[in-house]
Structure formats: structure tokens, C-alpha cells
């Protein structure tokens, strides 16, 4: 049998709003349990939902970024079921009318591009967070009512690698949109994988399983690889796949049965009667979408074509949104993309990695880096001096000007001054001059070094180089 997997991914993503989807309680990760709770989040009788406008705008941005058709009417439904993490006994979600439908996300797989269809993007509210102990359970309602978007892909993914690419791209897209923190380990992005195996070329789908509890992309990869193997072996042995929900077990790196899925899941969906359908005018949608930030794909194009950065450098900058934001800010101030990139990807990143800091928390600002680059390109300091200044910028909160002054790092670029120094060096090093004239041209570096030494490092080395040649040629 020639088998291939069919994979679809459901992603739940917590929106980065200030307040909850339907209540005014603040949204925050890691706050004291049950400290961010309004009566609605506990479902106290008589409380009513109010739609968070910012959440709607974020869902619109995400729909647009994923090339989706946008529903111009906002309609919510109730999904009814009893569970301890669901205070109201129902979840407000969008069943029949998701805000976005029929989109796609492009991924690069094996050197070519592939479109993964996205069937729907809908808005809903999160449940409370439970912590289970042996004989009791604690419930934290801080998460109850947090705004979520759920993004459901089509069954277009064919390998663990493609799945990871899809999640990475989706993650970067949502991150650059600024709509979510998309941290899988903190649960602000959660992936459920639907996977089945079919015969290659056949249009008949196999029985699928759903895998939950995936808190990193590498676990997604491991879980899918394991599940493909597990299902393939069963099929090749002539056995049947059971439709079920499985959980990724981190210790054994396998998937284990969580619950056997019952086909008759009965959520009693009906229109949420507390929220009349809200018309989204074309003007409103256009205005929201006009604030659309640039996405990684678009930035990559700008970096590599307009700024002439290498593909590698561009990718490195885009790996981290904060770094790319920092770069964009710098370029706005001083149009030296290559120099900026070299500084950032070199000494700056090395410093941040060593300290384990995000760039937002170090002393360096785009303005300071731009000042430094200005000093460098105007030859006020040498590149060697620039390194010293940068180091100081990262360590202290001093300005570029202050550091240059304190360290006496002014570069001498006055021709007469350097020529005087060159003549002193040439007369002090007659043997070297002789060697040079005798053909040992590589001794030039030594002579430049002597000029630098004499100037206590302040001479412009390029100028010194030129003037040494001029003076030596006079001796010839």
C-alpha cells in the first residue's frame, strides 16, 4: 500500500486585547488567580455580554491577512454543554457565520510554494483554567471570557514538516499583525491536529484522530510523525483506526487515547439572543484594514529588494518581530540598512543572547544606533571605535556623543595632521620603508599601525593609508 497522511489543523489563538471578549475584566497571563474577574465571567445571573470592538478589529485584520472573505455582519451563537470550566454552561462563539471564510496561507515546502486552504476564522470566548489535583480541582476564572479566534485549515497538509511550516507561518503572521502573543508554551496559541491516512491518489479519506495538548512546534512534529507511523502500521496490518481524541505524551513522545469521540456531540447551537447582529459597514472595515501592519512576506520583499539585504540576513531579522521592528525604526532615521543589519545581527544580538534580554529591555534604542551609524559614516569615529561605543551603549544609558567624549574617541581626519604623523613614522622606520620600496608591499599595514599607535588610535586609518603611499612615492 502506498499511503499518505491527510492533515488539517485547528488553531486557537488568544487575542491581545486589553479586556475580555464580552466583559470589561482585563486580560493578562500570569496574574493572581481569580483577580481578573467581572460578574459576567462567573456567569452571575443577570449579567449580559457586550462585544469587544478591538477584538472584532483584530479578527478582521487576521481574516484579511489570511486572504479570507469577510462577513459584513457580526453574528454570534451559543454552544451549549456542561463542563466545570464553562461558567455559563454555554460558550458564545460563531457557528453559522464565522467572520472570515475561504482563505489560504502559503507555505514553502521542498523549495516550492503551496497554498493551504483556511476554511474559517471565527471569534469566541475562552473557558476558565482548571488545575486538577488528586481529589479536588482549582478553577481560575481569569481566563474565562478571554477573546479567542479559531482558525481551521482545510485538509491540505501532507506531512509533519508541512504542518510545522503552516503553524510557523500562521504564528509569524498573527505576531506581525500584533493581534496575539502566539506563545504556544503559555497557551496563547493552541493547536489541535486532525490526521488520517489514505491511499495515495485516492479521494476516499480514512478515519481521523484528533491530537491535543501540543505546546510547541517540535511537539507538533513529533506527534504527527508518531501518529502517521501508528496509523500506517495499523492499516498495513489490516486493522481499523478508531475515531478518537488523542493526547501527545511528552515523556514517551507518543500519542495516547484521551477519549473516544462520540459522533453524536450535541452542542444545541442557536443564535445568541443577547447580541443582535451587528452590521459592519464597508467604510468601517476599510478603515480597520487600512491600519494593517506589514507581514513577514512583505517585509522580506522590502528587505531583499529595496534594501539589498541577503536572503539570509532578511530571514534573521524577521525571525523576531521585535528585532525587525527595531531595524525598521533605524532605517526610518538613517538610510543605512546594511550597516544597521550588521550591527544588529552581530554585536547587538550576541549581547542580547548572552544576557537573555529582549531588545526592548536593553539600553540601545533605534535613535542611539542611528546616531552611532551617523558618526561612523561621517568618519567622526572609526569602525573599531564604533564597536567600543556600541558596547557602551548596550551597557549604559549614555548617549553616543557622551561616550565619544568620555572615551576621547574622536577620529583625526585632518590631512595635514595625519601627514605630519606619517612623516614622523616614515623617518622613524627607514628599514620598513626600504623593504616596501624593495617590493615588500605588505609592510604597509605595519606602517599604518604605527600611525594609529602614534595617534593613540584616533587617526582615520584609510586616510593614513593613502597618505603613507603618497609620502613613500615621493621618496622613490
Amino acid at each position: 500500500m502506498n499511503l499518505e497522511p491527510v492533515i488539517g489543523i485547528e488553531v486557537h489563538c488568544e487575542l491581545k486585547t486589553k479586556t475580555k471578549m464580552f466583559s470589561s475584566a482585563p486580560v493578562s497571563f500570569n496574574a493572581v488567580p481569580n483577580s481578573l474577574v467581572q460578574p459576567l465571567d462567573l456567569a452571575l445571573p443577570g449579567t449580559l455580554p457586550r462585544v469587544n470592538k478591538r477584538a472584532v478589529e483584530m479578527a478582521l485584520l487576521a481574516s484579511k491577512a489570511l486572504n479570507m472573505e469577510i462577513d459584513n455582519e457580526l453574528v454570534f451563537d451559543r454552544k451549549n454543554y456542561f463542563y466545570t470550566d464553562l461558567a455559563k454552561g454555554f460558550q458564545i462563539t460563531q457557528d453559522k457565520r464565522p467572520i472570515g471564510r475561504n482563505g489560504y496561507l502559503e507555505i514553502e515546502a521542498d523549495g516550492s510554494y503551496k497554498k493551504i486552504r483556511i476554511n474559517r476564522l471565527h471569534m469566541e470566548e475562552d473557558t476558565a483554567k482548571q488545575t486538577h489535583f488528586d481529589d479536588y480541582t482549582l478553577i481560575d476564572y481569569n481566563r474565562s471570557g478571554n477573546p479567542l479566534i479559531e482558525i481551521v485549515s482545510g485538509p491540505d497538509i501532507r506531512s509533519a514538516k508541512e504542518a510545522c511550516k503552516y503553524i510557523e507561518n500562521l504564528r509569524a503572521t498573527l505576531l506581525y499583525l500584533g493581534v496575539s502573543d502566539v506563545k504556544m508554551e503559555e497557551g496563547s496559541m493552541r493547536c489541535d491536529i486532525n490526521i488520517s491516512i489514505k491511499e495515495k491518489g485516492s479521494s476516499v479519506l480514512g478515519t481521523k484522530t484528533e491530537i491535543k495538548n501540543l505546546n510547541s512546534i517540535s511537539n507538533v512534529e513529533k506527534a504527527i510523525e508518531y501518529e502517521i507511523e501508528r496509523q500506517s502500521k495499523l492499516l498495513q496490518a489490516g486493522k481499523k483506526i478508531i475515531q478518537e481524541t488523542r493526547r501527545f505524551d511528552e515523556e514517551s513522545k507518543t500519542t495516547v487515547t484521551m477519549r473516544v469521540k462520540n459522533d453524536s456531540l450535541n452542542y444545541k447551537y442557536f443564535r445568541e439572543p443577547n447580541i443582535a447582529p451587528i452590521k459592519l459597514s464597508d467604510e468601517y472595515i476599510d478603515q480597520v484594514l487600512s491600519d494593517m501592519p506589514l507581514l513577514p512576506v512583505e517585509l522580506n520583499k522590502i528587505y531583499t529588494t529595496k534594501y539589498n539585504l541577503s536572503a539570509y540576513d532578511s530571514e534573521q531579522l524577521l525571525l523576531n518581530k521585535e528585532i525587525s521592528d527595531f531595524f525598521n525604526e533605524c532605517v526610518k532615521i538613517i538610510n543605512e540598512p546594511k550597516l544597521i543589519t550588521n550591527f544588529i545581527l552581530g554585536d547587538v544580538l550576541a549581547f542580547l543572547n548572552k544576557r537573555g534580554l529582549p531588545i526592548s529591555e536593553c539600553n540601545l534604542t533605534p535613535n542611539k544606533l542611528a546616531d552611532l551609524i551617523k558618526s561612523l559614516v561621517s568618519n567622526a569615529i572609526s569602525s573599531k571605535q564604533a564597536k567600543i561605543v556600541l558596547n557602551e551603549l548596550l551597557e549604559s544609558d549614555k548617549s553616543v556623543e557622551q561616550i565619544i567624549k568620555e572615551k576621547g574617541l574622536v577620529q583625526i581626519s585632518d590631512e595635514n595632521e595625519i601627514r605630519t604623523l606619517v612623516n614622523i613614522v616614515l623617518s622613524d622606520n627607514k628599514n620598513a620603508v626600504k623593504d616596501y620600496l624593495g617590493g615588500k608591499t605588505n609592510i604597509l599595514g605595519f606602517l599604518v599601525g604605527q600611525v594609529m599607535k602614534l595617534s593613540k588610535g584616533k587617526a582615520n586609518p584609510e586616510l593614513a593609508n593613502t597618505l603613507i603611499l603618497e609620502e613613500i612615492n615621493k621618496l622613490n
Partner: protein, 478 residues
């Protein structure tokens, strides 16, 4: 001298002229509340609360149905599952009445979670009709205690809620004025939800003028309720006009024709004559009998379905009374089994059935379509008429031990047509218009959405021609 037998507007006047103090009024109200305890209108009787002397209702005592959230005051919904629930916030109407200076003297009994029309299923026991001191007659419900407190003169007004007819029916049975304004006129924030799309904040007074006066205080948009109307408020009392000349009133033939009780029919004829004398036209209109027969099932399907969902949070987990169990499912099942009464359980099961994946298209969705049809039919009547006039019930309040023939049109249509106003969101008012023996009878007027002014005008005219304004049920002195 007693002042609580006066209308709300007269009480406010007496307070203004310092004929009576706020303290005296509240004391008298509390005295009466205790005196009439045999009719069982209250879940909780309160002491005095702080009042704002600049406010329009300063010193006026009122009662509140126990399904409105009151901060720091027990609010039970007349259900065992909420018997110890003390809310942390005030309903918007409660907030408005607080700001208006009114004094809450008690929380009143309702049919459990507002599901019922008799006043018998509250967890603190039956409520009794004040016009029957032998305690054999129902008050009507679900806003039973509020109706009784107003009818007995304990308070000049009381707040209730109306999902099918829960204010307008007990108003008819207790001889007082009950109004359910247009859907969205008064914020529902803080009202325990029964059936969201047809729940209305509603209230009782003993005069139409009081009813008009109060709506101006209670109405208005609310950023806590997305369904609250943003229309500007009115001074309904100031604009009250009892000249009915040229007004057109419709009477639905098929509803009247299924009623056989002579006292009801003669009271209706009398009301029709009064309108005609005033220069109004009163005409019979016809509505498809099958559509009228569909009102009750449509109401039951929609209300029970929404109730199933709305009450799913009463699960023994975070704020309701809890019964222990071995796992969470057992805790929920035990808490709900013990905490909810039979009638509520029946409705919740019916609602779950209507919403079940297998049935939703054929039951719930179909009911929504018929609801639209009913609303459209009534709106068509409003194209030609200013109001619809109908008996609020097919008979006077029944005794606890009589059950009417529930499958007859007299019951299915005659006792349930008031739900039309809930399904369509129309403003609708009941006022007394006669007696059957010692029991009062009520007539109902319904107008098109947001036309409360016409509703008050037509009601005030009828009231002025009948001897039932500010009627109080008096205990016979022994």
C-alpha cells in the same frame, strides 16, 4: 392617616407638602408587609435604606421581584438552587430606582425562576390572591408577590418581569395596572434571564398615570445591555392625552369568540361602548385561528429552549447551592436535581429536546419562523389600528384546585394570547375593567413597538370612565 392607599403621584405630592415623611411611609409600608404576611408576597422584607432627598421618588417604598440582582441583598429567583445567593451588583432598574430615591422594602415571591403563571411554585410557598381572604385563589404569576404587594397597598408600585404575561396576567387577577413596555425600552441588565429574546422588565401600579410617570424614570439605553434601545425617553405623564376621538381600536374576533365567561364578555362590551362614546372606532378584525393556536407552542418552544441555555450556569459549581458527588457530573446532576423544582425541570428538558441536533430544524427553527409570522400579522393590524383591545384572561383567577381544560381553545388561546406582545416585543398594558363576584377582571391593550404614549392615552381614558382607579384589596374588618 394612611398615605399608602394613595397613588404614587399623590404620595409624591404629600411628601413634597410634608404631609407625610419618608420615615413614616416606610414604617407604614413595613407594617403592612408584616400585617399581610398570610398572602405570602415576600421572600425578604428589608429595613430602610439610604435615600436621596433631592430625587423624584424620595421616600417612596417599592417592592422588587426576587429575580432582580440586588447588591448585598439575598436574591433567590424563588428557587432552592439560589436560596443563599447574595449578588455583588445591582440590576440597572434597581440602580435607577436607588438614584430616584425610592426605598426597597422587600423582594417578592415569583414562580420558580419566573417559569409559571400561577404563583404557586416559589421555594417559600404559594402566593395568595388578596381578593380571596379564604386563601383559595391564585394571584397569577410569575410576578405574584409584586402584584399582591401593590394590590394590598403595601407599596404604590412594584417591579416584575414579563416573559409570556407574567406581569399583565397577575395584574388582571389582582385588580391593578401592569405594563410590559416595548422590548428594549428598559434595560434587562440584572434581571435573571428566563428567555432572553422575550424577557421584559415590567411593573405594577394602581393607576395608569403612575404607570406613565414611572416609565420615564425606568427607560433608557444602557451600555450594559446590548439590546436596550437607544431611543430618547419621553415625559409620558406630561404628554398624557385622554381624548380618544378618531382613534382606531381592533378586537381580534377569534380570541374573543373562544371565551364563554359572561362577566368577561360583558366587561369587554362595556369597555368597547366607553371607547365608542369617546369617539373612537372599535372594530373586529380576523386572524387565522391556526396562527392563534400556535402562540402557546411557539412561546413554549422559544422560552424553554432559551431557558435551558440561560439556566445552564446554575450547576452547583461556582455560586449556586451545591450537592456533593464523586465527580463533576454527579455534583451538577445532584445540585440541579435537588435545587430545581419539577415545573422548571420539565421546561428545561423540553427546551433541551427542542434544541437537540435532531429536532432543532423541525422545532426551534420552525417556531422562530412562526414567531415572525405572528409578529408580521399583528404589525399588519397596527397599520390600520392604534391598538388591540382584548380580555387579559378568559376568566377570573382560578382556585388552586381547579384546572381548566388545557386543550380547549378557551385555554390555549384565551389564556395565552398575551404572549403575542412578548413574541413581537409590543408594549402592552392590563388594567381592571370589571368583577366576577369578588374577583377583579383585567382588560389588555397592546400597541405597536415604541408607541407607549398611545398605550397610556387609551388606557388612561378607559380608567377615567371606570370606577377601578387606585383600587386596593381591603381585608374585611372582623
Amino acid at each position: 392617616m394612611s398615605y399608602l392607599n394613595k397613588s404614587l403621584i399623590d404620595i409624591i405630592e404629600a411628601l413634597k407638602n410634608k404631609q407625610v415623611s419618608a420615615k413614616e411611609l416606610v414604617e407604614e409600608s413595613l407594617l403592612l408587609a408584616n400585617k399581610y404576611s398570610k398572602y405570602n408576597p415576600f421572600v425578604t422584607i428589608l429595613g430602610d435604606t439610604k435615600v436621596n432627598s433631592e430625587a423624584p421618588l424620595y421616600g417612596v417604598p417599592y417592592a422588587l421581584k426576587d429575580n432582580f440582582s440586588t447588591k448585598d441583598i439575598l436574591t433567590t429567583g424563588s428557587s432552592n438552587i439560589l436560596k443563599d445567593y447574595i449578588p455583588v451588583f445591582d440590576a440597572t432598574v434597581v440602580e435607577k430606582l436607588k438614584e430616584s430615591g425610592a426605598t426597597l422594602i422587600g423582594k417578592t415571591v415569583l414562580d420558580e425562576l419566573a417559569m409559571g403563571g400561577t404563583g404557586v411554585s416559589g421555594h417559600t410557598g404559594r402566593v395568595y390572591n388578596p381578593y380571596d381572604p379564604s386563601l383559595n385563589t391564585i394571584s397569577g404569576g410569575s410576578s405574584a408577590g409584586s402584584a399582591v404587594a401593590v394590590a394590598l397597598g403595601i407599596v404604590p408600585f412594584a417591579i416584575g418581569s414579563d416573559t409570556g404575561d407574567s406581569v399583565r396576567k397577575p395584574a388582571a387577577h389582582c385588580g391593578i395596572v401592569g405594563i410590559k413596555p416595548t422590548y428594549g425600552r428598559i434595560s434587562r441588565y440584572g434581571l435573571f434571564p428566563f428567555a432572553t429574546s422575550i424577557d421584559h422588565v415590567a411593573y405594577f401600579t394602581r393607576t395608569v398615570r403612575d404607570s406613565a410617570f414611572l416609565l420615564s424614570l425606568l427607560e433608557g439605553s444602557d451600555n450594559k445591555d446590548a439590546t436596550a434601545s437607544t431611543r430618547e425617553g419621553h415625559n409620558y405623564l406630561k404628554d398624557l392625552n385622554t381624548d380618544v376621538k378618531g382613534k382606531k381600536i381592533a378586537v381580534i374576533s377569534e380570541i374573543v369568540d373562544c371565551i364563554s365567561e359572561p362577566s368577561i364578555l360583558s366587561s369587554l362590551d362595556n369597555a368597547i361602548s366607553i371607547y365608542k362614546e369617546g369617539g373612537a372606532t372599535v372594530e373586529r378584525v380576523s386572524v387565522d385561528l391556526n396562527l392563534l393556536r400556535a402562540i402557546l407552542p411557539v412561546y413554549m418552544i422559544i422560552s424553554c429552549s432559551e431557558a435551558t441555555s440561560n439556566n445552564a450556569g446554575l450547576d452547583g459549581i461556582n455560586f449556586t447551592s451545591r450537592e456533593e458527588g464523586n465527580d463533576f457530573e454527579e455534583v451538577m446532576i445532584n445540585s440541579r436535581s435537588k435545587g430545581l423544582g419539577k415545573s422548571v425541570k420539565n421546561r428545561l428538558v423540553l427546551g433541551a429536546y427542542c434544541l437537540d441536533n435532531e429536532n432543532i430544524e423541525n422545532v426551534f427553527i420552525k417556531a422562530q419562523k412562526v414567531r415572525s409570522l405572528i409578529t408580521e400579522t399583528i404589525n399588519n393590524i397596527f397599520k390600520d389600528y392604534d391598538a388591540i383591545l382584548l380580555p387579559a384572561s378568559a376568566d377570573a383567577a382560578p382556585t388552586f384546585d381547579t384546572l381548566s381544560d388545557r386543550m380547549s381553545d378557551e385555554c390555549i388561546i384565551g389564556e395565552n394570547h398575551l404572549a403575542i406582545a412578548n413574541l413581537g416585543g409590543f408594549p402592552s398594558l392590563t388594567l381592571p375593567y370589571g368583577f366576577k363576584g369578588n374577583l377583579p377582571l383585567g382588560v389588555n391593550l397592546t400597541c405597536k413597538a415604541f408607541d407607549e404614549q398611545t398605550l397610556f392615552n387609551l388606557s388612561a381614558y378607559l380608567e377615567s370612565k371606570l370606577p377601578y382607579e387606585n383600587m386596593i384589596a381591603k381585608e374585611e374588618e372582623k
